[in-house]
């Protein structure tokens, strides 16, 4: 009996404890930035391999590059970082960087041109997923001894042909352009991996922060680098916590336990707008949502049909309803804020106009299949299109599948239409021009599955040479004009119905200043944040 009396007493105690008031901290410390984000996409911290959003955010704060963006003014474009200056050779193929003096890595080792040479060569040799950003300039493991070369305090890179300087420099602002502490990394080399395994969970940079720890699907902790050449960050510690659920992020934000919530859904954004001490910050991101028409389809390849479909999307309706605040209308392949991006959006829902164009093309009783990945917003976009297309007499059958199922069929040119999203790989217009409007060999044998134009079986109607020309144009203004021209033609003739550009809406405490997620071209930067 005593046992059970004791047990009952224990039960009562447990209930009482479960309702005990525990002091909950209402505000994060003034020198600490706490962010809630979904970080389960991080696979490694090695800048030669990291290619995910959350990983790029971390690396942006750990590593400096030869050139980088100013986190307080992205419109300026690339600016000097570890390279104090650079010169371009007469033939336009070589760029010589002069390194900034007196900069040290977080380890205390000096940053030298040899570190820069080793870092870029290493990225080419390791040949991980993002390596193409560098190897597209003709760098190979065999030629890097000549093409990426340090000499004293300078580093010279030589490309296989003349490219626009802005193209090369924009690519060097990508994560793969990070300069790594060669000495430290090589001290931790295993089986000739150039420190790849060690750098997956450790840092060897000269940026504003160093990596304290990364617990997958749990948290990333950064510590300020007091010797950062750009000035020691005000936020001495940054903690990024993995909080998958939007409602949980909102509760944490409103309670003051975090400073930034990065994955709030529209309902929670509406909620935090009313909360005291919280503001909503919006930044355009590079992700585009589009419909692609397969040009191997006998009817969808007709110019009038391509045009008609651009009038069959209820851009305004979707933007103002279920996409509220998360996407903005954008009908060009270069995201807004990219060099040369057009802001013209000539198409709107016009059923009558679409009907006229379809009639002109002799189209009747058209039935098509559109492939959609199983994501709520995409399914809703497809349903909206299904509804408006029906008003023009087109029957749209929606096929929902996993990413692999839809992607496999898209790449095999099997779908009539695909509803897809595309995010840029690096902050230069070539990243999108080179896939939406570039397709030098449209044959099936070419298997250029990486090119969106090829996936749709579209030969680009003469845009390919224009893209080739734009990427080699040295004059920045001329280059901008060339992309404007390409986009204008693309809008009218292409089989891509580009609809929306993503907006990231973050809930942040109102005392947090200078926080940026990097807009469309960069990554999150914490070095200038104050509270």
């Amino acid at each position: 009996m005593t046992i059970w009396k004791n047990t009952l007493a224990g039960a009562t105690m447990a209930v009482a404890l479960s309702f005990t008031s525990v002091a909950v901290v209402a505000e994060t410390p003034a020198n600490m930035l706490v962010i809630a984000n979904r970080i389960d996409d991080i696979t490694t911290m090695d800048p030669a391999q990291s290619f995910e959003f959350a990983g790029s955010d971390v690396n942006q704060n750990i590593y400096s590059k030869l050139v980088n963006f100013d986190p307080l003014d992205f419109d300026k474009g690339y600016v000097p970082d570890l390279a104090a200056s650079w010169e371009v050779s007469e033939d336009g193929k070589s760029i010589t960087f002069t390194m900034r003096e007196g900069v040290t890595f977080q380890s205390g080792n000096p940053v030298t041109a040899q570190d820069a040479e080793w870092s870029l060569r290493r990225a080419v040799i390791l040949n991980k997923t993002p390596a193409f950003i560098l190897t597209q300039f003709g760098f190979t493991p065999k030629n890097i001894a000549e093409t990426i070369k340090a000499d004293g305090n300078t580093l010279t890179i030589t490309t296989d042909k003349r490219y626009a300087t802005s193209f090369v420099l924009n690519c060097l602002t990508a994560t793969i352009g990070s300069i790594v502490d060669m000495k430290l990394a090589m001290e931790n080399e295993v089986d000739g991996d150039m420190g790849n395994a060690w750098l997956a969970t450790n840092s060897a940079g000269s940026g504003a922060y160093s990596l304290v720890g990364w617990k997958p699907n749990e948290s990333v902790t950064l510590q300020a680098n007091p010797n950062y050449y750009g000035g020691a960050p005000t936020m001495e510690r940054v903690i990024v916590r993995h909080v998958a659920e939007s409602a949980s992020q909102r509760l944490l934000l409103e309670a003051g336990d975090i400073d930034v919530a990065r994955n709030l859904n529209p309902e929670d954004i509406a909620g935090v707008r009313k909360a005291a001490g919280v503001v909503v910050q919006e930044e355009l991101k590079g992700r585009l949502m589009y419909l692609g028409l397969n040009q191997t389809h006998p009817i969808l390849s007709k110019p009038q049909v391509r045009q008609a479909f651009k009038y069959l999307v209820d851009y305004e309706g979707m933007q103002n309803s279920f996409l509220n605040g998360q996407y903005t209308i954008h009908q060009n392949f270069l995201p807004k804020t990219y060099l040369g991006a057009s802001t013209e959006n000539p198409f709107s829902l016009n059923i009558e106009k679409a009907k006229e164009l379809l009639k002109e093309a002799g189209v009747e009783n058209l039935e098509i299949e559109v492939g959609v990945r199983e994501a709520q917003e995409r399914i809703e976009i497809a349903q909206s299109f299904q509804n408006t297309a029906a008003q023009a007499g087109i029957k749209v059958n929606i096929t929902v599948g996993t990413g692999k199922q839809i992607l496999d069929r898209y790449r095999a040119r099997e779908l009539d239409m695909s509803l897809e999203a595309w995010g840029p790989d690096y902050p230069d217009p070539q990243t999108n021009a080179g896939t939406f409007a570039y397709n030098p060999d449209n044959s099936l044998e070419a298997k250029a599955t990486g090119l969106l134009a090829w996936r749709l079986g579209w030969d680009t109607d003469g845009l390919t040479p224009l893209v080739d020309a734009a990427v080699t144009e040295g004059d920045r203004d001329k280059r901008i004009a060339m992309y404007q021209e390409i986009q204008a033609k693309f809008r009218e003739t292409s089989p891509f119905v580009i609809m929306f550009q993503q907006i990231e809406q973050d809930g942040i405490r109102d005392n947090v200043k200078n926080f940026t997620t990097g807009e469309a071209i960069g990554s999150a930067d914490y070095s200038k944040v104050t509270k």
């Binding site: 525990v22 490694t44 659920e245 599948g401």
Partner: protein
């Protein structure tokens, strides 16, 4: 020798001790069960419409990069060969590397499983200490208001979506009242303060005698554990009530009452003693269910446990992580079964 001669020269082999054959049988049973579990999970992993290569290299990788990783993962070999390699590695304690984060799966599991173990143990504790007495009282007072309350409590526990209940709990006890800590295992100020010995923060903070961290960790675990405990309570209390009703209608209970035994003794010393074995099964199943990981609870409370680990791995086609997690969950079920069997022998002499 003389005896051997008496038996026509044949040697008589002494029978193996019972404990030895029992242990052998148990090990054999575990091995077969685990092999079957790994095989089924392995096959499911191979037929899933997710491409592990694509998950690693990304959609934009060139064909050559894709093929290099395809070969690196050994996907060019027949499935049965891949399975044989995997089983061989597992037998040596090697679950392989996570395809996505390039860490040993064993290390990842060692990190996430203690989080689930801590949560599930506290949850099932709540479930037992509240659910068992509630079920007993509901049976003894059958049809009374307390029985009706117990029925409603259990019904709500069965039918209310845990996702909604968790969010409401957070909203009220964390957001509005501030009585408990928010999502996460511990407040940001206390992260990594106590050295990780067991991986369970409550235990580690006690070992480190850091009462501040213990208090903070408890404030974070109490809500998700109560939530899980509530679901256990619903199940345990209904089953307890059912078992008790059966015992209370038995003739030996009537005899005990006729002999003038107190009601407390009738209920707890006689009726309850006879349902202990059945209750052990119910509690073990409930505990195993919680140890498997409650994915939704882990998501809402940002609890890095094995449930969300396996789910994330599954969605990312990280099959080594899925298989490793599944093996661990399978082992948990088996060990709990063995533990239940041992307890049967303690509580029921007939089982010895």
């Amino acid at each position: 020798m003389a005896q051997a001669n008496d038996n026509g020269g044949a040697r008589t082999r002494a029978p193996l001790p019972g404990w030895f054959t029992g242990t052998l049988k148990t090990i054999g049973s575990i091995a077969v069960t685990m092999l079957g579990l790994v095989f089924i999970t392995f096959i499911i992993g191979r037929v899933m419409p997710i491409d592990p290569v694509l998950a690693i290299v990304g959609e934009r990788a060139s064909q050559s990069t894709y093929e290099a990783v395809y070969l690196q993962l050994g996907l060019d070999k027949p499935v049965i060969v891949q399975f044989a390699y995997y089983v061989w590695d597992v037998m040596q304690g090697d679950f392989g590397m996570s395809l996505l984060n390039a860490r040993p799966v064993a290390e990842d599991i060692a990190r996430v499983f203690p989080a689930t173990l801590e949560l599930a143990t506290l949850g099932v504790f709540f479930g037992i200490v509240l659910g068992v007495p509630l079920g007993v009282v509901a049976a003894v007072r059958k049809g009374s208001w307390i029985d009706q309350v117990a029925r409603v409590v259990a019904l709500v526990g069965y039918s209310m979506p845990i996702f909604w209940l968790g969010l409401m709990g957070l909203l009220v006890f964390y957001g509005m009242l501030g009585w408990v800590g928010g999502p996460g295992r511990v407040g940001i100020f206390y992260e990594d303060i106590v050295p990780s010995v067991t991986g369970m923060i409550l235990v580690d903070s006690i070992l480190a005698r850091n009462w501040t961290v213990l208090k903070d960790a408890f404030s974070h675990i109490v809500l998700p554990a109560s939530l899980l405990g509530y679901y256990s309570l619903a199940y345990i209390s209904r089953m307890t009530r059912s078992f008790m009703l059966e015992q209370l209608s038995a003739e030996y209970i009537t005899t005990a009452r006729v002999k003038g035994m107190s009601e407390w003794d009738v209920v707890w010393k006689h009726a309850f003693r006879n349902i202990r074995v059945q209750l052990i099964t119910v509690i073990a199943l409930s505990y195993a269910g919680l140890l498997e990981g409650s994915v939704l609870t882990e998501i809402i409370f940002s609890w890095p446990g094995i449930g969300s680990y396996i789910t994330t791995a599954l969605l990312s086609a990280d099959m080594n992580a899925v298989l490793g997690g599944t093996v661990v969950v399978g082992l948990v079920f088996i060990l709990l079964n063995i533990f239940s069997d041992l307890l049967y022998k303690v509580f029921d002499p007939r089982a010895k």
